[in-house]
């Protein structure tokens, strides 16, 4: 195999309504588990994935807040897009620990990776 690529996974949808965030999580740990530098970025409605206080038990679904809180254990890094939070009346304080990205910081991160893979 060639030297490892750097991959940015973009999660763009709200959790639970669509499986995208959960399936994106599986992709992130799959990549990180293979020693790929994996950056998980929550943008648009995807920022809801990081919101604290999720109670999906009544839906019979796994709590994505907990799953994404554990990303660093798998060697992946979590980021949240600040303008997407602001648009939704949220702030980093409402979220699980994640690096906050402005548009400039997100642009810079994109410029450092080989692939951007989207879960929308």
């Amino acid at each position: 195999m060639n030297e490892s690529k750097q991959v940015l996974i973009l999660i763009r949808t709200c959790p639970y309504g669509m499986a995208s965030a959960g399936e994106g999580f599986r992709a992130i740990i799959g990549l990180a588990g293979m020693e790929i530098d994996t950056h998980a970025v929550l943008v648009d409605d995807g920022v809801l994935v990081a919101l604290k206080g999720q109670l999906p038990d009544a839906l019979g679904m796994h709590k994505l807040e907990d799953a994404f809180s554990q990303l660093s254990d798998f060697g992946a890094k979590l980021y949240v897009h600040e303008p997407s939070l602001t648009e939704r009346g949220l702030s980093a304080d409402d979220c699980i620990p994640a690096e906050v990205l402005t548009d400039d910081k997100l642009r810079e991160l994109i410029s450092q990776v080989d692939h951007v893979i989207t879960f929308n």
């Binding site: 690529k5 499986a19 929308n120």
Partner: protein, 116 residues
């Protein structure tokens, strides 16, 4: 050059599989490698029992790509969650885990994602 595709939607529901087919066909004709990882409902595109009278046949389109050199793999977990067995998918493709998805991310020069 090797071009990777992540396809997350099924046949006859979204145009995604058609877009992937038209692009992949051209990349193969230009001598590029193609790797396609079918994820979530994307695995259904490989179901060999799909019948489509008077319409384009998606698994046949996938077979055509594979015969022209595309490597096509379907997420095994996604297939199980949709009741698709190994024997249900076209012979030119296989089920494979996230290890293969990671391998594709590493070996591809370009990577396209098609979702919702």
């Amino acid at each position: 050059m090797i071009i990777g595709f992540l396809l997350r939607t099924g046949p006859y529901t979204s145009q995604n599989v058609d877009t992937c087919y038209h692009l992949a066909k051209r990349f193969l004709a230009k001598g590029h490698g193609v790797r396609m990882y079918l994820y979530e409902d994307g695995v259904i595109n490989l179901h060999k029992e799909i019948k489509s009278p008077q319409e384009r046949n998606v698994p046949e389109m996938m077979t055509e790509l594979a015969k022209a050199g595309a490597e096509i793999r379907a997420c095994g977990t996604c297939a199980r969650f949709r009741g698709i067995r190994k024997a249900d998918i076209i012979e030119e493709a296989k089920q494979a885990g996230m290890v293969v998805f990671a391998k594709y991310a590493n070996e591809c020069d370009r990577f396209l994602s098609f979702g919702f």
